[in-house]
């Protein structure tokens, strides 16, 4: 949107300039020839000229013999620099106007996209990528002792996972609730069920279809560690996510 505005401003500016130039021509020349005005010069450069989206580039310009300098239609000092962060490849226009005429200069900043832009027809992605994307997004979430409430950090993980899952509607995910070794085998199965259900509820509330989710409790049957200490108990009080279909 900004890019379009810049261009319209540019086109309008050029038109006004043309009209003014032609208007001048129509005027009769003034009395005895004055010393020729100093010719106007202008340079504009960008450094670096290639960035990836979101990175900055510095525009540097200098002019000579001009008293009215605009950069993309905005009045600026006769020389100076400015930092820009374009999201797409952009050509910046410098216009310098003085008694000796008008000079323009351009500089282009080419922008590389960090991820390829989505194409109209989604093409199936290679398996490895899906699994990598899933592994990155679906981190284990941890619970307090005898609790199935999501911690704030877990809610962030779930929100992010929900967005990734919505971008991959063919994914099916199994949510596995786990408990530490303390307490009864049967009660821990019920507690693990509730922990898995807590993640399921949060994901469906964030817009993931319930059909894409399956919950299972492993109670205290599948621990990741077996030491009887707080650290290991905490590591076992978790929901683990598994990508079962993609």
């Amino acid at each position: 949107m900004n890019y379009c505005k810049k261009h319209w401003t540019l086109i309008l500016g050029s038109l006004v300039l043309l009209m003014m130039v032609s208007g001048c021509k129509k005027k009769p020349p003034p009395t005895p020839p004055a010393p020729p005005p100093k010719p106007v010069t202008a340079t504009l450069s960008a450094n670096p000229t290639s960035i990836t989206a979101g990175q900055p580039s510095t525009l540097t310009w200098s002019t000579d013999g001009a008293d009215d300098v605009t950069l993309d239609g905005q009045k600026v000092n006769v020389s100076g620099s400015q930092t820009v962060q374009p999201t797409e490849t952009t050509t910046y226009h410098l216009a310098a106007k003085g008694a000796g005429g008008t000079q323009e200069a351009t500089a282009q900043v080419s922008v590389a996209q960090p991820t390829p832009a989505p194409t109209p027809q989604p093409t199936p992605q290679p398996t490895a990528t899906d699994e990598q994307v899933f592994a990155q997004a679906a981190q284990d979430i941890y619970f307090d002792y005898d609790k199935a409430d999501l911690r704030p950090q877990s809610q962030q993980i779930i929100s992010h996972l929900a967005e990734v899952m919505k971008a991959h509607p063919n994914w099916k995910v199994q949510i596995e609730g786990n408990c530490d070794e303390r307490g009864s085998t049967e009660y821990n199965l019920a507690l693990g069920t509730r922990r898995a259900d807590a993640a399921t509820q949060a994901l469906t509330q964030a817009g993931v279809p319930a059909d894409d989710l399956k919950t299972i409790s492993y109670g205290k049957e599948k621990p990741v560690c077996t030491e009887a200490n707080d650290d290991c108990w905490q590591r076992n009080r978790r929901d683990h996510f598994t990508l079962t279909q993609h």
């Binding site: 307490g183 009864s184 085998t185 049967e186 199965l189 019920a190 259900d197 919950t215």
Partner: protein, 443 residues
């Protein structure tokens, strides 16, 4: 504290002893002992009936089992064998009543008999004598005949012991009962069985997955349990057919099945309806499951076996798990434990007592030292059954209400133990692998 505990033990013993002391009082057996006190019983080693070389191991298995059964019964004061008159009596003609009835033996009752193998069969004759009744001492006279094997020698000993216990104790003994449990010794948690005294252990299922929570049906025909496939399902092992039989699959996770004592209903925990675990009740075929609770972490239901109109269960609805009781239609829910971490209820056969596992004073820094407790359901009075011995969980009552089998880490690993309901006669039944979740058969 100690005195209070003793008083509670006395109360508990009254609860347990009442049914059979009443019957004992009505019975015509002249025991010569004070009613309610343990009966002083002598059990002589049985004598070889012939010179068959097979007799040795059979006799040894028989004598050991008979003594152990009588000693385990919890109603006898066993007279040590070192006090017995010299010479092993094998038949009534060998008995000198005064030698058994006077000090140092001073027995009220005497069990004796003979065992002999012949042509691949083993024959046992056994007698029970009321030593103080000189005119008509014989209370029991039994003969048994089976294929000759040590397993059968033990089986005959169990039968004869049960006759004695039934006759003197008023209700059938448990010597022929089984215990079902989960063992890891094959590399997976599978369903196993053993005799009540820990003998004859063998594996029943080969699912190569995780089997949990075995509960045998009241008619001893099937064992219901929960196993992990693509989800947790209630599964059925047929003891009649020695194989798995079908049972309906439900949605979600399905755990901790429990039979009603008439065998018509199964209660269990399921997340089929809400995504979290609630208590359901279904026909024993699995038909018509319906939800009874809404507690979200409700599990481990158990019927009151006397009436089948009440169910005890565990719920985390108020925080740490507690024991609750409700009517079998889901109404009238009452919490019966008030603190700590209380799980794994087991209802006594007479319907009066609940055994459960409890970390009574739970808190940060207090490791999970769970002990077994017994609650009188009517008065809510509680007696501690195990003390300071690792984590004790999953109590299950014997059908005579005199014993409890449970799992404990007191030996270092999870093993199955049994104990008399007054806290005495603690015995380790398993040693190999990890063994958990014992369930005592109904008969």
């Amino acid at each position: 504290m100690l005195n209070k505990t003793r008083i509670h033990f006395t109360l508990l013993f009254i609860f347990i002893a009442l049914p059979f002391t009443q019957i004992l009082a009505q019975d015509q057996i002249k025991t010569g002992t004070n009613i309610g006190a343990p009966i002083r019983l002598a059990a002589s080693d049985f004598k070889q009936a012939n010179a068959d070389p097979a007799n040795g191991p059979l006799l040894s298995a028989f004598n050991q089992t008979l003594w152990s059964d009588l000693d385990n019964a919890g109603i006898f004061e066993m007279v040590a064998k070192s006090f017995y008159p010299s010479g092993t009596p094998g038949a009534p003609s060998d008995i000198n009543l005064s030698a058994w009835g006077n000090p140092p033996v001073n027995a009220a009752m005497l069990a004796f008999g003979n065992l002999g193998a012949a042509s691949g069969k083993v024959t046992v004759q056994g007698w029970l004598y009321d030593v103080k009744n000189t005119s008509s001492p014989q209370v029991l006279g039994k003969e048994y005949r089976e294929d000759a094997s040590t397993d059968n020698a033990r089986l005959i000993a169990h039968r004869f012991a049960n006759e004695i216990i039934t006759r003197l104790g008023g209700i059938p003994g448990v010597a022929e009962t089984k215990i079902y449990f989960i063992s890891t010794r094959s590399g997976h948690k599978e369903l196993w069985t053993m005799d009540y005294d820990g003998a004859n252990q063998h594996q029943l299922t080969h699912l190569d997955s995780i089997a949990l929570s075995p509960r045998v049906s009241p008619d001893n025909s099937r064992v219901a349990f929960s196993a992990l496939g693509s989800s947790w399902q209630i599964r059925m092992y047929s003891l009649d057919l020695s194989r798995m039989v079908s049972f309906p699959h439900f949605g979600g996770g399905n755990y901790s099945p429990a039979w009603s004592s008439d065998g018509t209903k199964l209660a269990f925990s399921s997340s089929m309806g809400t995504g979290s675990s609630d208590i359901y009740i279904a026909d024993s075929t699995g038909a018509a499951p319906r939800r009874l609770t809404t507690g979200k972490t409700d599990v481990s239901p158990v019927f009151n076996p006397k009436t089948n109109t009440q169910i005890a269960f565990v719920s985390g609805r108020s925080g740490l798990p507690q024991i609750y009781i409700m009517d079998a239609d889901g109404s009238n829910v009452q919490r019966v434990t008030d603190q700590g971490y209380a799980v794994s209820p087991s209802w006594s056969p007479n319907g009066l007592l609940l055994a459960f596992s409890w970390v009574r004073h739970y808190g940060p820094g207090i490791p999970g030292g769970a002990d077994l407790y017994v609650m009188d359901v009517a008065s809510r009075q509680i007696v501690q059954l195990t003390h300071d011995g690792g984590r004790n969980d999953f109590p299950s009552w014997s059908p005579d209400g005199r014993h409890i089998v449970f799992q404990s880490t007191r030996s270092g690993t999870e093993q199955v133990w049994s104990v008399l309901a007054d806290g005495t006669h603690l015995q380790q039944l398993t040693r190999e692998g990890r063994n958990t979740q014992p369930n005592w058969s109904y008969r």
